[in-house]
Symmetry: C2
Subunit: 214 residues, 2 copies
Amino acid sequence: MIKKEKIPKVTIHRMAVYLQVLEDLDREGEDVISSSKLAELCGVNPSQIRKDLAYFGEFGVRGVGYFIKDLIGSIKHFLGLDHVWNCAIVGIGNLGRAILRHKGLPYKGFRIVGAFDCDPFKIGEKVGELEIICTRRLKEKAKELKIEIAIITTPPERAQRAANHIVEAGIKAIVNFAPARISVPEDVIVDYVDFSTHLIYLSFNLARTKGKNI
Amino acid sequence: MIKKEKIPKVTIHRMAVYLQVLEDLDREGEDVISSSKLAELCGVNPSQIRKDLAYFGEFGVRGVGYFIKDLIGSIKHFLGLDHVWNCAIVGIGNLGRAILRHKGLPYKGFRIVGAFDCDPFKIGEKVGELEIICTRRLKEKAKELKIEIAIITTPPERAQRAANHIVEAGIKAIVNFAPARISVPEDVIVDYVDFSTHLIYLSFNLARTKGKNI
């Protein structure tokens, strides 16, 4: 039973990391892992993992640790990944095309079912399996295609307009790749993607190697 | 003074989040923030923030909190962001072009100075300010352009070959967007980008709204 309190975004991102680490261990044939070892592999305090998992249940056996397959099943259920989510891409530029051609998403539980753009020269063009549809038809298509998640990959100046179409279509979840803040009603969830986080990890390590940040 | 122990990747990712939150507060005109409020905004335990910041110094004043501008400066220095890093993109497909055209990176301290691809039909083509160069010339160009970070945006089956060229060129840091593991010598740092983390955050919230994961 999930506690009713608000669960912070970074907790969910950590949970995605736990899932990835546990799935790697499962593929390597491991059955059980101690909470301290799991914490180390995930790069967090053991108390943080315990606190995070406590959001949705009692896990782990004292003196033994966690049963990997059970924990994977529970985390997947918790994250809503025991369901396939229909997604739409809005903005078919370079990034939109790259995501449309991404092979890994369906495997993770996300299926792209619609590609939208407002450029009349792109409408009707086929990208992979999908034909680009005018963004103004998003509302009508969202119902037909049962779209639950929208991914914004427009230029920053068009992100808000894309968000407006998405909201009007009744879609309640947005991943925004455009480097622009968008405003949406309170019941719509937005997650922002920022590539630079990954570059920052490298920056830190390079500076450290060179003794620049010590 | 940074402690000499290994600092986990997720600590650095958290530090990038702290920086982003602090920069937002600074822009809003705030001077000081309590550690509990900062923890709440960043979605972590106050003890986690204290532990993370303890890697590189003593921060915060008991009963007052953190001085925002000071902490921003210290975190930037710690992350190596008081330096501009020269980056190369290897693999000029849709994703490579999207990153080349990304306006936000120079502002964050990352400058793309080289675009490489092994496709003879692409070599010489101009993308933005840069001309695509044959990946086989990476070694020679890395010195000339002082490339410190390489970003792999090839298809998965070409990621290892790209990594080999990067390693041979003496570049010690790689962000890998290709959904494929790569092997590199121990002194080369790799960070993998996985878009699906963001989709998982939405999946969790949608499932919760629908009562599916409770």
